[in-house]
């Protein structure tokens, strides 16, 4: 049986929380500098590298690791695999916080964060960035509604909670559709730079690859997050559930590999597999760490049934798939060659993120972890939702 976490309404500042608060403080100060004297003051972004660490980490990684929410809700409400119900609230919470962190990060990265509302009045429907912005808002709202019963239960508003639960199935289907489009659109965002993105990555089916890999990331993220929170919050680990999720991973990754290599074959890009120097090395690294190794590990019953094996294997998968997101959005993007005469504003053609740039992302991530901790403390996240209703 699961252990119930003690609901403690009093806040205690543990050293870990203090560290998180300090990191958030640093990010706050750095972003204030950015707002007063410009993005160039805190980042190494340039006219040759308009997008860098922030986009790769906050947008591409942040949205990818939020995909657990649509995967688990779909398993429970569409496929009616009721056994996974206990995993819904933690993954929804992770997903919602991931989206919220992305929006906060965007407010630092955008040149005009005060005009974010332009998304509602000036809309250019050929732009995948517009689509992504709208999907973020719609899906964050859907996740909030899907998670709302946890808040209402805490407030003892059982009727409202029951009302939302009645509409859960159509809501989950809508969420799954929006989420599919959103994950795919992140891949499609790079379709506009065919001559800049290395051919091992650029393909018209980039959105399909992003969607398939997002499912594997969602499964791995759910395993990771359940494993970590079972340790930190000293609650029982739902190992039998995680074992079942893990069983699905090799199938998803198998399809991913088939589509990926099939595409390279059909496009005639197989020649870049070994001739691309650093690009080929990056490709094989992400394929090996993100797909091949996890397929082997998650196929072994011994690995799937040990908490440590599950945790490590999911970390390996996430590491490889996050490398894929970094490759697509940063490492494999070729920028104009430095010419002999380069005007001042084109000078910075080599891009290495600055410490201040990274500290902003780390600060926002810390806020996310803190928010997760607080939510778990004050809301029935890990409790059995059905049980809570009966009380």
């Amino acid at each position: 049986m699961k252990m119930k976490i003690a609901l403690n309404p009093r806040l205690r500042l543990s050293p870990f929380v203090l560290v998180l608060l300090a990191l958030m403080g640093i990010a706050f100060v750095v972003s204030m500098v950015r707002y007063s004297i410009g993005i160039g003051a805190i980042s190494n972004l340039s006219n040759a590298y308009p997008w860098g660490f922030w986009v790769s980490f906050d947008l591409y990684t942040g949205i990818a690791i939020s995909s657990g929410a649509f995967v688990i809700t779909s398993l429970v409400y569409i496929l009616e695999l009721d056994q996974f119900r206990p995993l819904i609230r933690p993954t929804l919470l992770t997903g919602f916080l991931g989206y919220a962190m992305e929006v906060i990060a965007l407010l630092v990265d955008l040149g005009h964060p005060e005009r974010i509302w332009h998304y509602f009045i000036y809309q250019n429907f050929t732009s995948f960035l517009l689509a992504i912005g709208l999907y973020v808002m719609i899906y964050a709202a859907i996740m909030l509604v899907e998670f709302a019963p946890a808040i209402f239960e805490r407030l003892k508003w059982q009727k409202l909670s029951a009302l939302i639960k009645r509409f859960m199935k159509p809501l989950v289907i809508l969420g799954a559709v929006i989420s599919t489009l959103h994950q795919g659109s992140l891949g499609a965002l790079l379709l506009i730079q065919p001559e800049k993105l290395y051919p091992l990555w650029w393909t018209p089916i980039l959105p399909v690859l992003f969607f398939i890999s997002a499912i594997s990331i969602g499964l791995a993220m759910t395993i990771l997050e359940s494993s970590l929170s079972s340790r930190y919050f000293k609650r029982g680990l739902e190992i039998h559930l995680l074992e079942k999720l893990a069983r699905g991973v090799p199938y998803v990754l198998g399809i991913y590999l088939a589509v990926r290599f099939g595409q390279l074959l059909l496009a005639g890009d197989l020649k870049y597999l070994f001739s691309g120097g650093l690009m080929s090395i990056l490709f094989w690294l992400e394929i090996f760490i993100g797909a091949v190794l996890p397929i082997v590990l998650f196929s072994l019953k011994r690995v799937r049934q040990s908490p440590k094996g599950l945790l490590l294997s999911s970390i390996i998968l996430l590491f490889g798939m996050i490398l894929n997101r970094f490759d697509v959005s940063w490492f494999a993007v070729r920028h104009p060659d430095p010419l002999t005469y380069i005007p001042v504003f084109m000078k910075n053609v080599k891009y290495i993120p600055s410490l201040a740039e990274i500290s902003v992302s780390i600060g926002i991530f810390s806020a996310g972890i803190l928010a997760f901790g607080l939510a778990v403390k004050y809301l029935p996240v890990f409790e059995d939702p059905e049980k809570e209703l009966e009380q």
Partner: protein
């Protein structure tokens, strides 16, 4: 030049003497800081062995594409393409996302990295001087060019002019007019005596860069509806199967009771 249907530039790299007067003229005309010019002269340096040395420079600014990728990419529609050529940018709409910079295959739009919220950080790029061309004048860079390396006029005429220059001196030029078909055609045509790659010009092909992106975007609604239908069908199907199973389980438990009475 109101009588012109499609305004265009023709740049002849073999005529450019690297004086950079165009940069100064542009900054003065458009009131831009000298370190943030909308036009820049890129040199490929000296090549070859003395005494046979060659040198080439390229005047680089917005290509004013017929199918602008920046316009396709901008989420808030800050870009417009005027029917007579210029690609214009509206700073009032811009949210500073810098996606246009990623989208432009020529790396043209640039951003104020040194300005905070109060000063306002904007994208900037060449506008083809609409304030001048609407009054019958050439853009500032063209008007100031001392060697006629830059000329301005009706696009169709300039394409013809470029080809006749190549025909007159085939030994001097690479037999290609860059921009005639590149990226679906641009309003900045380039002639060169060295390979175009040496001038820093990308090999973009004749199909507009934005095409694949827009075609995939067109699939959004069909994919959403199709996927929604599939998931709904799946959900309904699973529910029916589960209900049937439950009913069967119930039936097998109470075997004594007939499930239905014939009426």
């Amino acid at each position: 030049m109101p009588d012109i249907k499609q305004h265009a530039f023709l740049f002849d790299a073999s005529r450019c003497i690297d004086c950079r007067a165009c940069m100064v003229a542009c900054s003065v005309e458009n009131k831009i800081d000298m370190d943030k010019t909308r036009i820049w002269v890129a040199g490929v340096g000296l090549k070859g062995i003395f005494p046979r040395l060659t040198r080439a420079t390229m005047v680089y600014h917005c290509m004013h594409c017929a199918a602008p990728d920046c316009l396709s990419a901008c989420p808030v529609g800050a870009y417009t393409k005027r029917s007579d050529g210029p690609v214009l940018y509206d700073a009032k709409k811009c949210i500073g996302c810098r996606y246009c910079m990623n989208a432009c295959p020529f790396g043209v739009p640039h951003f104020d990295y040194d300005k905070g919220l109060v000063e306002g950080a904007f994208i900037d790029k060449c506008t083809m001087c609409p304030q001048r061309i609407d009054n019958g004048l050439e853009p500032a860079c063209v008007a100031t060019c001392p060697t006629d390396a830059l000329v301005f006029g009706e696009r169709a005429d300039l394409v013809e002019e470029a080809h006749s220059r190549i025909q007159a001196h085939p030994e001097r030029y690479v037999d290609h007019v860059y921009g005639e078909k590149e990226n679906g055609g641009t309003s900045y045509l380039i002639l060169s005596h060295v390979p175009f790659a040496e001038l820093g010009l990308p090999d973009v092909g004749t199909k507009p860069v934005r095409d694949v992106s827009q075609e995939v975007m067109g699939l959004t609604i069909p994919v959403a509806l199709g996927w929604g239908a599939v998931l709904t069908g799946l959900a309904v199907g699973v529910q029916m199967v589960n209900q049937k199973k439950e009913a069967q389980a119930k039936q097998s438990v109470d075997v004594e009771v007939p499930s239905e009475k014939p009426e």
